[in-house]
Amino acid sequence: MTQQWRPAPASTSPMLQRPEPSDLAEILERVLDKGIVVAGDIRVNLVDVELLTIRLRLLIASVDRAREMGIDWWEHDPTLSSGARDLAAENRRLRERIGELQANGRPPAIDDGEEPTGARAAQPAERERRGSARPMAQGGTRKAARQQ
């Protein structure tokens, strides 16, 4: 489609992945988030691009496949983005709590008398994964918590 500056036909140019019709996420990232912004006559609020793209993935993937990928939080939270923020905050609180307990040399009450493996022990890691909407920022938060 862009012959003028395309260096070679797709078939002889293996270095680049041509935008394919299936590259919906790539297309959305550009048309929703980039390009010239001018004040048109009709103002609309485009919803958060990332959120929208994730929703679109859900449309594309079957619900079962989405669950396999760990995308199941929409079932609990129709607003989605605020839910992710809540999880991130909860994750931060849990880490801080663990840090405090460790600093005091005492184990948390929840582990008393129980082998700390299995589902419950795995929970912080699980929460961290799901709540890491901004992994880098979260890394920074962790660092700050350690310095307390």
Partner: protein
């Protein structure tokens, strides 16, 4: 245009052979038109003003299925234009009441648009995304560096099999070591992303860093460390892609996706944007 229609703007270009738009369907299946003013040409189409009234429009944009249809139609037109001319894509859903309002936009921003179009001529956008393997983050190994020594778990960890305080403290100690290793791994991975961006920027006409995407978008736990866009001369596009691949090839736990050439969506705001 009559009162029943509004004008959707796809892109602004110059030197367009409007024959390339023949038979191309835009938003709502409508034909795509051009509107010229001075050296600029707006690529536009008519849309139903009722369907794209503010309220109806917002409802439409909250429906992923409809957004996909709009996004693909918009992008298809932008790509066709990019095939023959330098192009400034407009953000999705730029709508004016009528063609005259678009003409006013062209007049008002003439100098700026023309300058950006000159800058973009003969160039395309290459998208580079780089992810780090989560295993690398957990162990702190990101590209051949030795793993940091695990902290001493402390006396509470050994000696007793009695469940209770000792086991809890040992768990917390292990957990803290894991979290610290992961935080370090993330910092190192982020630094690698910056390094790669720096190297690619040196080979490009211009570069933009876009927000890192949520791991959920990739459908796995990989951590995105670079979401870059690079403006590259058309003749050097393959060379640039080869360089990007080489930059990541010797990093064992990083994966990269290169896409393009795209119309220069990320550079439509000009050299100093």
């Amino acid at each position: 245009m009559s009162e029943g229609h509004a004008t959707w703007v796809y892109a602004i270009t110059s030197d367009l052979d409007s024959a390339v738009l023949a038979g191309i369907e835009g938003i709502g299946g409508e034909p795509v038109r051009t509107l010229a003013d001075n050296s600029l040409t707006a690529v536009i189409g008519s849309i139903d003003a009722d369907a794209f009234g503010e309220e109806a429009f917002e409802r439409m944009l909250s429906d992923p299925g409809q957004v996909e249809v709009l996004a693909r139609a918009h992008h298809r037109v932008v790509e066709v234009v990019a095939g023959g001319s330098p192009v400034l894509p407009l953000r999705l859903a730029t709508v004016y009441r009528n063609d005259d309002r678009v003409r006013a936009l062209l007049k008002q921003r003439q100098a700026r648009f023309a300058e950006t179009l000159r800058w973009l001529t003969g160039r395309g956008e290459c998208g580079v995304k780089v992810w780090a393997d989560p295993a690398a983050l957990a162990t702190g190994r990101t590209g051949g560096e030795p793993a940091p020594a695990a902290p001493d778990p402390g006396p509470a960890a050994g000696g007793s099999h009695r469940p209770g305080h000792g086991a809890g403290a040992a768990y917390l100690s292990r957990r803290r070591a894991q979290l610290e290793a992961r935080a370090d791994g993330r910092l190192r991975a982020a630094q690698r992303g910056e390094d790669i961006h720096g190297a690619l920027t040196g080979r490009a006409v211009a570069a933009r860093q876009h927000p890192l995407q949520d791991p959920r978008l990739a459908g796995n736990q990989e951590l995105m460390v670079l979401n870059g866009a690079y403006l590259v001369d058309a003749a050097r596009m393959d060379q640039f892609a080869a360089y990007a691949r080489a930059a990541v090839a010797d990093l064992a736990r990083f994966r990269l996706d290169i896409t393009g050439p795209w119309p220069p969506y990320s550079f439509a705001d000009g050299p100093d944007g």
